[in-house]
């Protein structure tokens, strides 16, 4: 048997900077995970659809546009409607401190700002998967 952690790395919203998302994708790959990368400018519907079809274990959202308070809850809502209410979500990007708790309350597992160590993210994901 051959099991791998499957991660969706998505960039919802309109900002055009995917360097952060690519750095994370690469780091997770090097940690032995299978990373589905969707590219720029995804609608919440596209993200939820990809999470469903790919049956991923965890979803990472990279948002630099400031629209996280609209996009993230919407994506979680759509995933719930798809029957994936337990699918863990983490958010990376530029998230003001006062918004972090709002996102956590909306069901996000963790928020990683600029300067977060990729090793931390890898660690967190592996712990989360071990609990499953």
């Amino acid at each position: 048997m051959d099991q791998k952690i499957r991660v969706l790395i998505a960039k919802p919203g309109l900002d055009g900077h995917d360097r952060g998302a690519k750095v994370i994708a690469r780091a997770l790959r090097d940690a032995g995970m299978e990373v589905i990368y969707t590219g720029l400018r995804q609608t919440p519907e596209m993200v939820a659809e990809a999470a469903l079809q790919e049956n991923v274990d965890i979803v990472g959202l990279s948002i630099l546009s400031g629209a996280h308070l609209t996009l993230v809850p919407r994506i979680i809502e759509l995933m719930q409607a798809n029957g994936q209410s337990k699918l863990p979500v983490f958010v990376g990007g530029i998230i003001p401190e006062e918004d972090v708790n709002v996102l956590l309350d909306a069901g996000v597992k963790a928020v990683y700002g600029p300067g977060s160590a990729t090793t931390q993210i890898i660690d967190d994901i592996q712990k989360l998967m071990a609990e499953k």
Binding site: R29, Y37, A50
Partner: protein
């Protein structure tokens, strides 16, 4: 048996995309649940038309799949729109086992259409351009009612010809400017093409790429293909060379029409039956070998292999006799 596999399994995977998605994971991981599901669903398979798309890295395979899926969903006007399943295979890192599966990036036009299901797969160390379980995943989609299934291989060079065994129609994609790479491909995957596509046909050099492909086809018409086709009354498929510009959506409709013509050719000649039989034989052979290998490893007494290696190293044993002994130790007897 897992709760995923119920007596309503066939209905479940038709009606519930999440169940299909989860079962694909089970099959990909080769679990008991996955195997149970495949056994139950087998009678409901064999209906899908499987198209393989292969070619060197960067020629535009994903973009062509994207355009082809759109074309199939628009339809030929004559029939109802087929449901389209897509399996996109990307390589796994040989060092970490991880993978970045990025084919969805080029398939964003397909989002929002519930008649399309895209699944990315990592090759997980398998050589041949596909993952070990790609054929089984295609079978799940087949049972789930996808009439057309497109399988995109990893960027392929010479030896990645496994797709030809899985697909009914194999499309090999090339692009201008690959230069000497064309020579390299010539010996390998071009031979499995039912349809040749020169993508990025708006780039300079398209004529020379096309000429090179045509020349190669003429050569093989004189040798292998013609003689294997038998008597002159047997219909022969002429491999077309088509141009596309996938990022602008040009040419995809013609590729679809040619694929359907090839399907018609397979159906009306005895090729369909012949290929399906070959494919099934191949699959059974592979499964038997896999199972025997697993049986051998499971039943081999611990350290037996180490001892044999040591004996061979010190030249106290010989290879073929060692094989016989090792097989006997696991309960195989070939004398």
């Amino acid at each position: 048996m897992s709760s995923l596999v119920s007596s309503r399994l066939h209905e479940d995977i038709r009606d519930n995309r999440l169940i299909l998605a989860r079962l694909i994971t089970e099959v990909e991981n080769d679990t008991t649940t996955g195997r149970d599901a495949l056994e139950i669903l087998y009678p409901h398979t064999g209906n899908a038309y499987i198209i393989g798309i292969t070619g060197a890295p960067g020629v535009g395979k994903s973009s062509l799949v994207n355009q082809l899926a759109l074309a199939f969903r628009k339809g030929t006007g004559k029939e109802t729109k087929p449901h389209v399943g897509i399996i996109a295979v990307d390589p796994s890192s040989p060092f970490t086992g991880g993978a970045i599966l990025g084919d969805r990036v080029r398939m964003r036009d397909l989002s929002g259409d519930t008649g399309i299901f895209i699944r990315s797969m990592a090759a997980r160390g398998a050589i041949g351009g596909l993952a070990r379980t790609t054929a089984q995943v295609a079978r799940l989609m087949d049972a789930a009612g996808f009439e057309v299934i497109m399988v995109e291989t990893v960027g392929a060079g010479q030896a990645e010809v496994e797709i030809a065994r899985l697909a009914h129609t194999t499309i090999v994609v090339d692009a201008p400017g690959l230069g000497d790479d064309i020579q390299a491909i010539k010996a390998g995957i071009l031979e499995i093409a039912d349809i040749l596509v020169v993508n990025k046909a708006d780039l300079p050099g398209v004529e020379s790429t096309e000429r090179a492909l045509q020349a190669m086809l003429q050569l093989s018409n004189h040798s292998g293909r013609a003689s294997s086709a038998g008597s002159s009354s047997t219909p022969v498929w002429e491999v077309p060379v088509l141009r596309t510009v996938s990022n602008k959506g040009e040419g995809a409709f013609e590729v679809m029409e040619n694929a359907l013509a090839h399907l018609h050719f397979l159906r009306t000649s005895n090729e369909w039956e012949k290929r399906q039989h070959l494919r099934i034989r191949d699959e059974v052979e592979n499964l038997v070998m896999q199972t025997m290998q697993q049986h051998w490893m499971k039943n081999l007494p611990p350290s037996a292999l180490d001892k044999s290696v040591e004996a061979l190293y010190s030249r106290k044993a010989t290879p073929y006799q060692t094989v016989k002994d090792l097989l006997k130790l696991s309960g195989f007897n070939f004398d």
